[in-house]
């Protein structure tokens, strides 16, 4: 097997007293779309921030392109980040500049290009996401789906090796959702990227993923190709993949007995 682009070993991470990851191992294969799925609050976004070196783990290692992310100095980390694109859930566009300038932003910060060349580059990126016509709009004038596509154009502006998507489908109407699903797969294959999609939209994500990791309560509960996960071994994976209301994850939040609670009469 080829060397994984991201290799996570025995990762442990805590937010204050709350243990988010309790020893997880993940390999992200080059050239593919790897999905990381799990219920809300399992720390999927946190995982992306750990890979990007924005958070420090308690223990364990994360290697990206063979480099240990948390042992890198500031400059080396920034050099590595130029090869990673990240699409934030909110888009995270800079609100005081227009779409064109947002996409041009990382290029302007890291390279001194003549303006005509920069313009061609930006228009190419915007064309790839179908928003060349929206170049002069301000972020506030965009719909949620468009904002995410602009953010995607920005994420690929520096021609990264890898793009990380944080919940790309959340809160999208069916059309923008379809557009994003198609874009993620198409860009991955056309640009020879490695993509990591963090999501809890099972259908959409499984449709484009080559490999899926299921996370729950700080551990990897299952992983494999999406088709094998549909009839997964564990009850939990079944419940999650098929979206059943009750199962190993109970419908009710833990509480004292209903009868006792009602009879207690507020005392």
């Amino acid at each position: 097997m080829t060397e994984p682009v991201v290799q996570i070993r025995d990762l442990r991470f805590a937010h204050g007293d709350r243990l988010i990851f309790d020893g997880i191992d993940i390999d992200i294969a080059p050239g593919g779309v790897t999905a990381i799925m799990g219920p809300s609050g399992t720390g999927k976004t946190t995982l992306l921030k750990l890979i990007g070196g924005q958070l420090q783990p308690l223990s364990g290692s994360i290697r990206v392109h063979g480099e240990e992310v948390h042992k890198l100095g500031r400059q080396a980390l920034y050099r590595l980040r130029k090869r990673m694109g990240m699409l934030f859930q909110s888009g995270a566009l800079l609100t005081d500049i227009d779409v064109y300038e947002n996409v041009a932003y990382p290029i302007r910060e890291h390279a001194r290009l003549p303006e005509p060349l920069l313009r061609d580059l930006v228009l190419m990126k915007l064309e790839a996401v179908g928003l060349r016509g929206a170049a002069r709009l301000m972020p506030g004038q965009l719909s949620g789906g468009m904002a995410r596509r602009v953010a995607l154009a920005r994420a690929i502006a520096l021609d990264p090796m890898m793009v990380m998507y944080d919940e790309p489908f959340t809160g999208q109407d069916p059309i923008s959702m379809g557009v994003l699903v198609k874009l993620i797969r198409k860009l991955n294959d056309a640009l020879g990227l490695t993509s990591i999609v963090v999501s809890h939209d099972v259908q959409e994500t499984a449709a484009i993923a080559d490999y899926v990791y299921l996370l729950s309560e700080g551990r990897v509960v299952d992983h494999g190709k999406p088709e094998t996960l549909w009839d997964a071994a564990t009850d939990w994976s079944q419940q999650f993949m098929q979206g059943l209301a009750d199962g190993p994850v109970p419908f009710h939040y833990p509480a004292p007995g209903f009868r006792e609670d009602l009879l207690a009469g507020g005392h």
């Binding site: 920034y78 909110s90 995270a92 990382p106």
Partner: protein, 259 residues
């Protein structure tokens, strides 16, 4: 009793932890200031929004403060037949104290709160995080230019406040109450010392600009990234800046004019 002690201890630890974070953050900002010479446009944009947009409130307030000084000063001085000294009273009050202090308080209310809210919201909408992931350091790109703009505009705003205030005092004293024009200016010229008064006033305003910029930047950057967190941070900026400016003003005055 034990609970009270515990929460007192926790609050104290929290205070010192924040103070430490604030100091480290300041060092980080300062380390990026020399680099700002290479990106003057970033600073110029901020000078406009931090300095120029604060100008109107400073001009209007300066004028009224000067007019009040003229009125009050005249009423007191005229009892001793010393109304010719009105120029001295107005100028010294403004240059030594009111110019730097009131301008800093107005600055905190107009510019400091806006800076905190802006940076806090950039944090809440993941714009700062996004910059980091694009390998752009937000302290260098966002914070340092704003801090430098605050540092540069405060002394200018304080100077403008004092100048307008003196004209306000002149308008009331000479224009309306009949103090002699020549005496107003010549007594002022004799008594206001460049080093003792003007320089010290400028030093004060630089210190206040430094503190106001630091507090506004830190509160924004350290804000809890929610609507409530940003609103609390904005309030804290105004309140803390006001308290620190007034406290520091006493210390500086004692050092400068104490002997």
């Amino acid at each position: 009793m034990l609970d009270g002690l515990q929460s007192l201890g926790r609050a104290t630890l929290g205070f010192f932890e924040r103070l430490g974070r604030g100091n480290l953050f300041l060092l980080q900002i300062l380390s990026h200031l020399p680099g700002m010479l290479l990106r003057p446009r970033l600073v110029l944009t901020q000078l406009y929004s931090v300095g120029v947009l604060t100008l109107l409130i400073v001009l209007v307030s300066g004028l009224f403060v000067g007019m009040v000084l003229g009125l009050q000063g005249y009423n007191t001085l005229v009892d001793f037949g010393a109304e010719e000294s009105l120029g001295v009273v107005v100028a010294l009050s403004l240059v030594r104290e009111l110019g730097p202090v009131v301008a800093a308080l107005l600055f905190a209310g107009r510019a400091g709160s806006a800076l905190t809210a802006e940076i806090g919201l950039m944090k809440a909408t993941e714009q700062l995080s996004g910059m980091e992931m694009m390998a752009v350091d937000p302290v260098q790109r966002v914070v340092a230019p704003r801090f430098l703009a605050a540092l540069l505009s405060m002394p200018l705003l304080a100077a403008i406040f004092s100048a307008v205030g003196i004209y306000g005092g002149h308008f009331i004293g000479v224009g309306l109450l009949g103090v002699d024009d020549g005496a107003f200016w010549s007594q002022m010229q004799n008594s206001v010392d460049l080093r003792g008064d003007i320089y010290n006033g400028v030093i004060k305003s630089i210190v206040f600009g430094f503190v106001a910029g630091w507090i506004a930047m830190f509160e924004g950057y350290d804000a809890t990234p929610t609507a409530e967190g940003v609103s609390r941070a904005t309030t804290r900026t105004v309140v803390h800046t006001a308290l620190v400016v007034l406290g520091l003003d006493f210390v500086l005055t004692a050092l400068m004019f104490g002997d």
